[in-house]
């Protein structure tokens, strides 16, 4: 169930390098949110724009009624958001969209591939899987960024006990290279894999084409502009391969049928 509510900010941590973690009190959403789902946020504050912006749920604590997001202050909206203080309000609509659901096949190796601020929903997924009884060893997180300081949620992933592989473009932490390089090696080394990916579009394309070639199941969380996030405006459309259609594709709403899609179906 979707909620529209005003949440109060309980903590707002500067993680360095323009990354922030914001925890809010929003019991209804904290209760209902699933990994991969997102919120449409809006604040009234310094530089607040008119339209909402989507942010993935990073962590929830249903008992405490809290949830957190992690974001990068890069544009007008997020830079303004980063100035909000503890005690201030933020308006949230959610949870929205579909979720990452663990591949039900037994013995499958779950590869969670995160690029930059793609990490939050995958951290939520890793935590939920472990809580639901998946063996931490069956979960491998490949977390990549341009450089060490831009890696998101590294310590959080580690705390969950999953296998963690880091990559950076400049080699300042983990393997020098991209998450796709690492994923390629991991797929080659493992038996059955299921891939869950979230990050910048170029990264997702690389991951997707790798998986499709290797015949590995892969779910990707796409990032588009989302004017409404509610499935009504048709501003977030993507194309899914569909041979039954004369044009060979179906249009779907990234906010409503997605944001998570089967990589093999996405037309980039």
């Amino acid at each position: 169930m979707r909620h529209s509510l005003t949440a109060s900010i309980l903590s707002h941590r500067d993680l360095g390098d323009a990354q922030f973690e914001m925890t809010v009190l929003a019991p209804a959403i904290a209760r209902d949110a699933r990994p991969g789902q997102f919120l449409q946020a809006l604040y009234v504050g310094a530089g607040s724009p008119l339209m909402r912006r989507p942010f993935s749920v990073f962590r929830t604590d249903p008992e405490a009624g809290t949830l957190a997001i992690v974001y990068v202050a890069r544009g007008a909206f997020t830079i303004g958001m980063s100035a909000l203080r503890v005690g201030a309000s933020i308006s949230l609509v959610g949870p929205l969209g579909n979720s990452f659901e663990p591949d039900p096949r037994p013995d499958v190796r779950h590869m969670l591939v995160a690029g930059g601020v793609g990490a939050p929903p995958l951290y939520f997924l890793a935590r939920e899987m472990v809580a639901a009884g998946h063996a931490p060893e069956s979960i491998c997180v490949i977390n990549g960024a341009r450089s060490r300081d831009l890696l998101v949620a590294g310590a959080d992933f580690a705390a969950v006990g999953v296998t963690l592989r880091e990559t950076t473009d400049d080699g300042s932490a983990g393997r020098r290279g991209t998450v796709a390089d690492e994923l390629s090696d991991q797929i080659a080394a493992s038996g059955g894999c299921a891939v869950y990916a979230c990050g910048p579009t170029p990264m997702l394309r690389a991951v997707a084409s790798l998986c499709v070639e290797a015949g590995v199941s892969c779910r990707v969380s796409l990032e588009t502009v989302m004017p409404c996030g509610l499935g009504v405006c048709m501003g977030c459309i993507i194309k899914l391969r569909n041979d039954a259609e004369p044009e060979g594709y179906t249009l779907v709403r990234s906010c409503h049928e997605g944001p998570i899609f089967d990589a093999a179906e996405v037309i980039w």
Binding site: V225, M234, G235, H256
Partner: protein, 305 residues
């Protein structure tokens, strides 16, 4: 408690707040937020005879106090609307207004004929803002004669209350309004979006694949409000006013300017509860100012001096 009922010609509304076409889908996405029966009415996304895929992405971008959209007429088409969307909408105690669009008059007629007498359809809103070859790529609705042709043809094809939705991108909107009324429109919806664009200086590309897009939101409110006032002075038909209405105060401004009801568009994206909050806010305004009914404020604006 003030009387909130109003009407757009033969269409009775239990309160003056309607959702605007294209900003509310076909209603089902709102189930979690409120009971649609709380609305005066609900306008569907444009329905065309055949399914449409709309424009390429990117389709929208934010602007100062507004947004540009070039969705195009993406919709499942008339038959899918009747089979899949209308049955859901029918269950609510609210006026379902079907927005119809076409680039040929024949298609408008097909839409009107097929929708006529369908249980649950309370009115048609005829979207004459579709680009049309006869207007050199501009909208049908920029030309009084073409507007009259479209409206007249739909009038002949339906007994449903018919609202002509006008484009504001014209020199003399009152002329267009008059010709729509003369051709049989029971009421007028205004405004549709204002044409604009945006450019990304980093890539030096248009931010919208279609180049041209429609501007909506608070930025257009002053323009829309004057359009409503001008038409209210000139045309003898009730007006469904819209354009940047974000709250009850904005809604009251439109009613003072002459709108008999108001439509809420972009505000639905900003605040999913906007439309029902505006219903409550209008009621409050009436109570606080001692008005017994919304009718008292329609067109009641006075000169500044």
């Amino acid at each position: 408690m003030p009387d909130l009922t109003t009407s757009l010609g033969p269409l009775r509304l239990k309160n003056p707040v309607v959702t605007a076409s294209g900003t509310f889908g076909f209603g089902s996405e709102w189930a979690d937020f409120y009971d649609l029966s709380r609305l005066g009415g609900l306008t569907t996304k444009a329905v065309t005879v055949l399914p449409r895929r709309g424009n390429p992405m990117p389709r929208t971008t934010e602007t100062a106090s507004g947004m540009l959209n070039a969705i195009g007429l993406q919709n499942p088409g008339l038959e899918a609307f009747l089979a899949e969307k209308l049955p859901y909408l029918r269950q609510f105690d609210t006026a379902i207004i079907v927005n119809i669009a076409a680039d040929r008059i024949e298609d408008f007629v097909t839409l009107a004929e097929r929708l006529d007498g369908q249980a649950g359809v309370a009115a048609l809103e005829v979207n004459v803002s579709c680009p049309n070859q006869a207007c050199g790529g501009l909208e049908f609705g920029v030309d009084p004669a073409l507007t009259a042709q479209v409206i007249g043809a739909v009038r002949a094809a339906t007994t449903l209350p018919m609202i002509a939705k006008l484009t504001p991108n014209v020199t003399r909107i009152a002329d267009i309004a008059r010709s729509a009324v003369d051709a049989g429109a029971d009421a007028l919806s205004l405004v549709n979006t204002y044409v604009g664009t945006a450019i990304d200086t980093r890539t030096r590309k248009f931010k919208i694949a279609n180049r041209q897009a429609g501007l909506s939101g608070p930025c257009i409110k002053p323009l829309a409000l004057l359009a409503v006032w001008r038409v209210a002075q000139a045309a003898k038909a009730p007006i469904l006013g819209m354009g940047g209405i974000m709250n009850a105060t904005d809604a009251v401004e439109f009613m003072l300017a002459g709108a008999s009801a108001v439509a809420i568009g972009t505000a639905n994206f900003v605040n999913p509860m906007a439309a029902v909050e505006i219903v409550d806010g209008i009621e409050q305004y009436l109570s606080q100012t001692g008005a017994a009914s919304v009718q008292e404020i329609i067109g009641a604006v006075q000169p500044a001096l």
